[in-house]
Assembly symmetry: C2
Amino acid sequence: MTTTVAISEELLALGRAARAASRALAKLHTDAKDRALRAIAEGLLTQQAEVLAANQKDMDAGRRNGLGEALLDRLMLNPARLEEMARGVEDIVRLPDPVGEEFDVRILPNGLRLGRRRVPLGVIGVIFESRPNVTIDIAALCLKSGNACILRGGSEAFHSTTALVGLIRAALATTGVTQDAVQSVASTDRALVTQMLQMKGSIDLLIPRGGAELVRFVAEHATMPAVTGGIGVCHTYVDRSADLDAAVRIVFNAKVQRPSVCNALDCVLVHSGAAPKLLPALADKLAEADVELRCDARALALLGPVGRRTRVTPATPDDWGKEFLALVLAVKVVDSQDEAQAHIERYGSGHTEAILTEDYSAAMRFVDEVDAAAVLVNASTRFNDGGQFGLGSEVAISTNKMHARGPMGLRELTSYKWVVLGNGHVRP
Amino acid sequence: MTTTVAISEELLALGRAARAASRALAKLHTDAKDRALRAIAEGLLTQQAEVLAANQKDMDAGRRNGLGEALLDRLMLNPARLEEMARGVEDIVRLPDPVGEEFDVRILPNGLRLGRRRVPLGVIGVIFESRPNVTIDIAALCLKSGNACILRGGSEAFHSTTALVGLIRAALATTGVTQDAVQSVASTDRALVTQMLQMKGSIDLLIPRGGAELVRFVAEHATMPAVTGGIGVCHTYVDRSADLDAAVRIVFNAKVQRPSVCNALDCVLVHSGAAPKLLPALADKLAEADVELRCDARALALLGPVGRRTRVTPATPDDWGKEFLALVLAVKVVDSQDEAQAHIERYGSGHTEAILTEDYSAAMRFVDEVDAAAVLVNASTRFNDGGQFGLGSEVAISTNKMHARGPMGLRELTSYKWVVLGNGHVRP
């Protein structure tokens, strides 16, 4: 059912070079990969001029094209940000290399020595939007895990991405690692995204890093396995038995600490037994951060007439199941854990779901029954993160069930092969 | 790039029922699942009449339609075969349940209790060809791993599959497990296969069980993750240092022990230093099983003029990279391990590759560098098998790198979720 589009010769050449590079990378030991990573970090500290000049071009173009201040800020590079990127690379040097790790190793009853050995996936394609730091982050994670990568950054960051990839490739050259380990698509033509998604034989895994529209487009059109991640419609159910002070703190943290990311809270479901005390306290606390509350009728009734609290408004049907990525929170009163879980099942995106409760059975039931990449008890949804989980940096937070689910760090960028050492063994 | 086909209302209804069943199955404990499996095994022993009558219809139709004897034998059920299927189900009862297993469990420095808990994938779609025993095998593996399944058997086995699914569902009903855990597509219309491949929202994993044509069709057209498995172009490289007696035994076993399956040997690559002694001995041994050897020019020269050995013929270019599934073996003389590995890289299907050698460095190099689901040293390719690897029964031998690679047993039919237990934790 797939109508193929023609893939440009340039992309096919990138694919061939990446495949060859992936074979070389798969054989590199950790020492060699870490040397290359340190050279990249060094480059970020000592060769800033070219990258900053390229970034200036992107910033100028962005201003001319009327990019908003938030987007311009995401796009902007300066020496401090390059230093931060260098520190990020150094952090990846310190992470353990998953490649070569063996697991399920045993000697079978017939004497065969058997185990699974982690190997790189091969070639990772990454399509990302404006933040140029993603270039360094993804390239470093792919390199450490022995994967070649083909990067396609957003058009707003085209010059920055190109300069950063140039810096990476120059660093690789000084350490004898093939430059084709990291390549970028040298065009802002959007048609190339569609073509990349057809490169099944050349790209083993496609990772979209960007907004919901990009992620959905990739999920719909990619012919190779693709990560679905970064879309988090996250709920927190405040049970009747919840510690109310803790609940206010946790909900505030989950909503306010970084509202623009996928694990930020979108909807709080409050048990009707807890709502009369909790909701006014929660509304007062969230008002400190100017959070807008979109409330169902029962929550509204408990918070007093509309207009008394300036940021309290009635919810519309669209507010359920919405990822706000802003200081907006949907609020609903429920009569039971059943009702809360049914709401989560209907509206959640399978990303991050939490219960706040002092009731042991309620907590166990929530953890057992709610189907999401991460389920939390008495903690902020913001914890669903590779760094917080101790995986180091992450390439994505996957909501797929196949392969990796939740934060994808280095190990999640690997496959494995079965290694069988015999001694003349034949099958009876 | 996807043109959707209309999905029939019947299939959509199967999908909805399977999704609902998968939610119920995910909550079942091992005891409940094992009770249901034992009821299925019991049914296979005590309610054979209906299944055998249905199978007779398929056999009669098969004879009318001129099915070959081999296919008729694969299709045929009798009391002994039903008993064997019952024993297979009992074996699955004894396998450990992967669901609920927790791994990477730890208490983080901030006191959060973190772990990954295995959960079922959800709904497994299986498209298989004529062997009706696959119905029981797959249904039992899906049930044990907490997955609902939608089965689509081959049209030749339609009545047998329908009767077996009826038997399963009757058994489930006696144990209180939802019957919709196991459903089959009640039509032999081939268009339904294409429709099934479009049911991305309803089917979480598609497993094709059948010939290369089916596997390739599924890989090309499935909109959901699909296993690519069962296509094994398997090589064995006989190094100069190989123990020649062991090499003859291992190659014979790999080719002859069960030639119709994916891990059977297709091509032997013999080092020129070993070929003069090995090839005549190997040809004599393989002649015992009437194996046809398709030889390159150097192998032919060593085996004497064509016609001296009746089953020795010149290889054609098509014989390299071919999965014979029969008593045919391609034979090539190479001058180095480099040449052997280059041949494997070009022609292998990433399934099973072996080296026979007494040279430690050659063995280590082969294991490190050859990219396949299983790499073996001094053992028959026939060992790449879930049962042989101690995984119990398998649903497929995957050549994908994403998710599971190699034999897919129960654990490979699961995903995981992150479980985070806090105590008022907020992210700093």
